[in-house]
């Protein structure tokens, strides 16, 4: 049995060596399919690991109250009614204060609002128009995993009075003040001067895309003055300890509903999200992308399989005489079937292995050249090997069965 398998394997490799170009071309389909699976899985897995890491950087025991649902949602539950959500009342700094006051299980609350795509200037240089301006209350940094690397956070007085002070993200600081200490320097936002009081510690990018270091944080009151008063805020709520998070959430929901006079039967007109729920929604997204990618890759594997089917039919036709001789000399049907099935499977597994190699190569290249966070999951390797051998077997079995059915006398007569 094992001897027959190795004999068949040797025959298969003999065929590949005899037709190297044909073999390579046939492999191409499987190779492309598998390397696409591998590369995409590496990217998605990298993304997933990174997202989980990024989100766990947020403060401990902290959840958020938002007007808008966070992240993306697919399947399960009701479809989101965007119009209805848009009509929800804004969250305000008053809400933030009320939550701190009326929820016994809540230790602190913070509020933030943001304005994207701003240009930050100094007397002689400026950033690109891609800086996030964050309006924040003093509690916000600690509740969001932001630490101050140099200088200090603005204080309560500065926040309430609407002073023009700023805490820079490290990228902004590096860009504007490459050679001097930014603390104490002056920057300009929308033409108005701000004094830099601190610089945030580096945090990196969320999902490798959103740069959390390219930000400028200013007092909430100042932010309202500069960018508009009636702005919606996001409220970060810190529970007293890990055990009271659920209780704090209940209290927050009750207080918010009271403040907004929500009828007992109506749904919440705000969203509660935790680090986990945000990470989960992004994981859900990555699962959908994984499934979609998979579908595409499966198609290319099927195309590759058709290539194998085609070449195996050619191979069987070409070797009709050989099959006849083998059968005349005592090869059983199953043996011939196994010979050609082995050839087809070897062909596609060979392609699969090359594809896995290419996938690893591309994942490594992506990390090395583009700085992408990639990780090849072990299950993707196993799956690729499994799928390619499956494709070989499925598409190889018909030509092999045709070979096995040949009548030796007829077959030997063919030319």
């Amino acid at each position: 049995m094992i001897r027959a398998f190795f004999d068949n394997l040797r025959l298969a490799f003999g065929t590949f060596v005899a037709h190297p170009l044909r073999t390579m071309l046939t492999l191409l389909g499987i190779m492309i399919g598998v390397s696409t699976v591998m590369t995409m899985m590496a990217l998605l897995e990298g993304l997933r690991l990174k997202v989980n890491k990024d989100f766990s950087q947020l403060g401990a025991n902290v959840f958020r109250v938002d007007k808008w649902p966070q992240g993306f949602r697919f399947g399960g539950g009701n479809r989101m009614n965007w119009n209805k959500i848009a009509q929800r009342p804004q969250l305000t700094v008053d809400d933030k204060r009320a939550l701190a006051e009326h929820c016994p299980s809540v230790s602190r609350t913070g509020a933030s609002s943001w304005q994207p795509a701003q240009r930050v200037r100094t007397g002689d240089t400026e950033t690109q128009a891609n800086v996030f301006i964050i309006g924040a209350t003093v509690e916000y940094p600690e509740l969001s995993g932001i630490t101050i690397a140099r200088g200090r956070m603005f204080n309560d007085t500065e926040e309430v009075d609407g002073r023009r002070v700023a805490v820079l993200g490290p990228d902004v600081a590096d860009k504007l003040f490459p050679s001097v200490d930014p603390v104490g320097q002056e920057i300009r936002l929308k033409g108005r001067p701000y004094t830099v009081v601190g610089v945030m510690a580096r945090r990196g990018k969320i999902m490798g895309m959103f740069n959390m270091d390219n930000q400028v944080m200013i007092p909430m009151t100042t932010f309202f003055g500069a960018y508009g008063k009636r702005r919606n805020v996001s409220i970060s709520v810190e529970a007293k300890d890990a055990d009271s998070v659920d209780k704090a959430m209940e209290e927050v929901i009750r207080v918010m509903r009271q403040r907004r006079d929500v009828a007992p039967t109506a749904e919440n007109n705000f969203e509660i999200s935790t680090n986990e729920s945000m990470a989960k929604s992004l994981n859900d997204l990555s699962n959908v992308v994984t499934a979609a990618t998979f579908g595409v890759c499966l198609l290319s594997l099927i195309v590759g399989g058709i290539g194998i089917l085609n070449i195996m039919l050619v191979s069987v036709t070409e070797r009709t005489r050989e099959i006849g001789v083998r059968k005349a000399l005592g090869a059983r049907r199953l043996r011939i079937l196994a010979q050609f099935a082995t050839e087809a499977v070897a062909l596609s597994v060979f392609g699969g292995l090359i594809g896995i190699g290419i996938g690893f190569g591309l994942a490594f290249l992506g990390r090395w050249m583009l700085g992408l966070y990639t990780a090849v999951p072990a299950w993707a390797v196993l799956l690729s090997v499994g799928m390619s051998s499956g494709v070989g077997l499925v598409f190889g079995i018909y030509p092999a069965a045709r070979a096995a059915r040949l009548d030796p006398v007829e077959a030997m007569r063919s030319e």
């Binding site: 001897r3 027959a4 004999d7 003999g14 005899a18 005489r321 050989e322 006849g324 001789v325 083998r326 059968k327 005349a328 000399l329 005592g330 090869a331 059983r332 049907r333 199953l334 043996r335 030796p408 006398v409 030997m412």
Partner: protein, 247 residues
């Protein structure tokens, strides 16, 4: 008896017509005999060769080969019988072009499930018998016609079969090389091998100790080679196919 054919019939359906390729053939061949089966084309000798070689099953009658009734066996059982009992020598050699002489000779042994070492030993011994042990690593394309046929004979001998079955073994060879192959058969017969040789050439059949003549799927002659081989020529009138075609 090594071979016992009893009232063997082989019918083919060609369209609506039934062709009797073998029409009740009974024949016995003893171990160590060298028998030629002769006949014109269409006489049924190819069907006869396929039936004796277990490549085809008769539609009627009984065929006992080496004590086993092979006339009702299925494909895989027949494959095993071919592998163990019969050494084939085909007219056009039927060697695998991509493999070396040695690998070609090993082929039936592969299907017997022997280890690589045993296969090699037996194949080398068989190639020695046909004096081609100096061409073991040559591929068929690198060999002359006579050498190819000797490789084919070595392949037939390698599995130590009870019967050597040769189909027009000199058909694709010039007369000198053909003679060389016939001598090899004579030698093998001398060593005690049972040989059945299917041919349409009377000169070849005349060299065999015994010849069986087929016509229209029936045995019409069975006796010493010299007698049966020329039977046709002696009685041309009995065979319309031999009569000159009127133009």
């Amino acid at each position: 008896m090594l071979i016992e054919l009893t009232d063997i019939r082989r019918e083919y359906q060609v369209g609506t017509e039934v062709v009797h390729a073998l029409d009740g053939v009974s024949l016995g061949i003893a171990r160590g005999e060298w028998v030629a089966i002769v006949g014109q084309s269409g006489s049924g000798k190819t069907t006869m060769m396929n039936v004796i070689g277990c490549l085809d099953t008769p539609t009627g009658g009984r065929y006992v080969l080496n004590g086993k009734d092979v006339s009702r066996m299925n494909d895989d059982e027949l494959a095993d019988i071919r592998n163990k009992e019969i050494g084939f020598v085909f007219q056009n050699f039927q060697l695998l072009p991509r493999e070396t002489s040695l690998a070609n000779v090993e082929l039936p042994l592969v299907y017997r499930g022997l280890s690589a070492k045993e296969r090699r030993e037996k194949a080398i011994a068989a190639l020695k018998k046909v004096k081609l042990d100096n061409r073991m690593m040559h591929k068929p394309t690198e060999l002359s016609g006579g050498q190819r046929q000797r490789v084919a004979i070595a392949r037939a001998l390698a599995s130590e079969p009870s019967l050597l079955l040769a189909d027009e073994p000199t058909g694709n060879l010039d007369s000198a090389t053909g003679e060389e192959i016939i001598r090899l058969f004579e030698e093998l017969h001398g060593l005690g091998h049972t040989i059945v040789l299917v041919t349409h050439e009377p000169r070849l059949a005349a060299r065999c100790p015994r010849a069986v003549r087929l016509s229209d799927g029936k045995v019409i002659g069975d006796g010493p080679g010299q007698d049966v081989a020329w039977q046709d020529r002696a009685q041309p009138s009995a065979h319309p196919a031999e009569a000159p075609v009127a133009s």
